[in-house]
């Protein structure tokens, strides 16, 4: 669905991506891991055609980004920026959510229904008429997330989607990712949140100096200490206590622990 082939890119002097090659598959949530400055956010920007490779190619759903701009990608790709303020432009949450669908020429009834669905899914119905900037930063991130869900794009690019969120918000974002993946969508998430990686992601690539250094399950990557991250303490505790569970997700660990010694 998303294919980076030998992508090279630099902002000014220093190369940021140096021959980056990876793919994100249909029905998969892929994590991009790496230290600060490894090129993760840059890779997302290239997927959205906000910028273009100096060499190599980026294709999304067989569409090469060469010669295209973000306006050519919006029907296909939703992008949650690392800074929600960079993508909130309207004066109420409801209008903000409608913006993308309006730009794509949807009929008003269809927009209203899709916006209501996204408000519900992101637990924002209570603030629909509030100005996004009157909301605290964590809520603003959920507004930005909801705004890209409205048109149900095939691809979601999420840059640190759980940063600043509380426990409830983090669980909500993980559930949204799993719903999209189950419906055949592709999610690419940049994250430094090990618990989110275990809950929401299927596979990961680790970037270092703009190249893929390692590829594997989130568990394998975290176990190897990618970007200084570690397995979530709950997973480590469960494994050291000798629990055997269906997966490393919290719900499966909890049921294994409840059965353990009983």
């Amino acid at each position: 669905m998303i294919c980076f082939d030998q992508v090279r890119f630099r902002y000014r002097r220093d190369p940021v991506l140096r021959g980056l090659t990876f793919e994100g598959r249909r029905g998969e949530a892929l994590g991009l891991f790496g230290a600060n400055g490894a090129g993760k956010t840059t890779a997302l920007r290239l997927c959205m055609a906000l910028m273009h490779p100096e060499e190599g190619s980026v294709t999304v759903d067989s569409r090469s980004t060469a010669g295209l701009g973000p306006e050519d990608m919006v029907d296909l790709v939703g992008y949650l920026f690392q800074r929600p303020d960079d993508q909130l432009i309207r004066t109420t949450v409801r209008e903000e959510l409608a913006y993308g669908a309006e730009r794509q020429g949807w009929a008003p009834e269809r927009i209203a229904a899709a916006v209501a669905g996204a408000l519900e899914e992101c637990q924002l119905a209570g603030v629909a008429e509030t100005h996004p900037y009157d909301l605290a930063m964590p809520k603003r991130r959920l507004v930005a997330l909801a705004s890209i869900l409205v048109t149900d794009p095939k691809v979601l690019l999420l840059d640190e989607p759980t940063a600043l969120l509380d426990r409830t918000g983090r669980a909500l974002v993980a559930a949204i990712v799993r719903t999209r993946v189950a419906a055949g969508g592709t999610v690419i998430a940049v994250t430094h949140d090990p618990a989110f990686a275990i809950e929401a992601l299927d596979r990961g690539v680790a970037l270092e100096m703009g190249q893929v250094m390692q590829e594997g399950s989130p568990e394998e990557l975290l176990r190897s200490g990618v970007a200084g991250l570690e397995l979530p303490p709950a997973v480590v505790a469960a494994q050291r206590a000798g629990l055997t569970s269906k997966s490393l997700r919290m719900v499966d660990l909890a049921s294994a622990l409840a059965r353990h010694r009983s």
Binding site: Y11, R12, G34, A35, N36, G37, K40, T41, Q82, R83, D85, H131, D134, A136, M137, P138, K139, E160, A163, L164, L165, D166, R167, T168, G169, H192, A195, G225, A227, G228, L229, E230, P232, P233, A234, V236, A237, A238, R240, A241, G242, L243, M250, V251, L253, A254, S255, L257, A258, R259, H260, R261, S262
Partner: protein
């Protein structure tokens, strides 16, 4: 006198209902105090009030008394008296870059130059501040072109260079990778040991547990509990207040709810760390 004192503080933004309600607590020098609560509990607003920015910058109205180093940060004279002594880092540090500096070195030199330090003093102090935050290698880079996590450390360095007495930190590790998180954790601890008062907000209970001497638990703007994080985080109160606990605590509680009363070894207080959990569950 404690370094930070809130006495019966209530606050509302221009367009909101009460966000802080009758909050009283103090944060002493040399200690790390953690403001914790679910999203919307008022932790960020409390830091804004401590910095004198709510209502000064945000608008709204504040009742009660806020004192920082004995001064009212909301008054002109109080602000003058604590200038350069209070470091406030928001959850969105990229908004705190000066926008005037063409290199990370210049960004960190910006405040010292503004208050009239001579060149030799600046040239000695800036590299030291960069080294403390592990960003010496970024000295020549353009601040706006750095990643979010790198900018977070640049902003910390730009404040550390003045050796503040007070740190007000809102989600200080939100954009950091694992290595950066460790570094900032050690940095904050060392600042408390230097004698600073540290007041910080985070939703990361592992960070709070590792860093804080005391927790102030907020719910809908009210202080509902104060105590040692390790004592509070294992209790059901944390869940009743929707704040939650560490990942290990969350797993322990989820299992306890599934197992019910037949599993005494899963009953609260819940373990919070890997070591404590393995001890109880094995």
């Amino acid at each position: 006198m404690s370094a930070i004192e809130f006495s019966r503080v209530s606050f509302r933004y221009p367009t909101s209902g009460p966000v802080l309600r009758d909050v009283t607590f103090e944060a002493p020098a040399g200690r790390v105090t953690w403001i914790f609560g679910p999203a919307g509990a008022g932790a960020s607003t409390l830091l804004l009030a401590a910095a004198g920015l709510a209502p000064g910058l945000t608008g709204g109205s504040l009742e009660g008394s806020v004192r920082i180093l004995g001064q009212d940060p909301g008054s002109r004279s109080g602000r003058g008296a604590v200038q350069g002594k209070v470091a406030y880092v928001t959850a969105t540090p990229y908004l705190q870059l000066s926008g005037m500096a063409e290199s990370v070195f210049d960004e960190v030199a910006f405040a010292p130059a503004n208050i009239g330090w001579d060149r030799a003093r600046i040239e000695a102090a800036v590299p030291e501040a960069l080294a403390r935050l592990g960003i010496g290698h970024l000295a020549d880079r353009i601040p706006e072109e750095l990643s979010g996590g790198e900018q977070q450390r640049v902003v910390l360095a730009a404040m550390f260079v003045l050796r503040p007495d007070v740190w007000l930190l809102d989600e200080p590790t939100s954009a950091l990778d694992g290595t950066g998180r460790e570094l900032v954790r050690a940095f904050v601890r060392a600042e408390a040991e230097r004698g600073c008062v540290v007041l910080f907000a985070t939703e990361d209970a592992e960070l709070g547990l590792a860093l804080a001497d005391e927790m102030v638990l907020l719910d809908e703007g009210s202080t509902v509990a104060r105590g040692i994080p390790a004592d509070l985080l294992g209790t059901e109160l944390m869940w009743a207040m929707r704040a939650g606990s560490t990942g290990v605590g969350e797993l322990a509680r989820a299992a306890n709810r599934l197992a019910g009363e037949r599993a005494a070894h899963l009953a609260p207080p819940y373990p919070l760390t890997v070591e404590a959990a393995v001890e109880r569950w094995r």
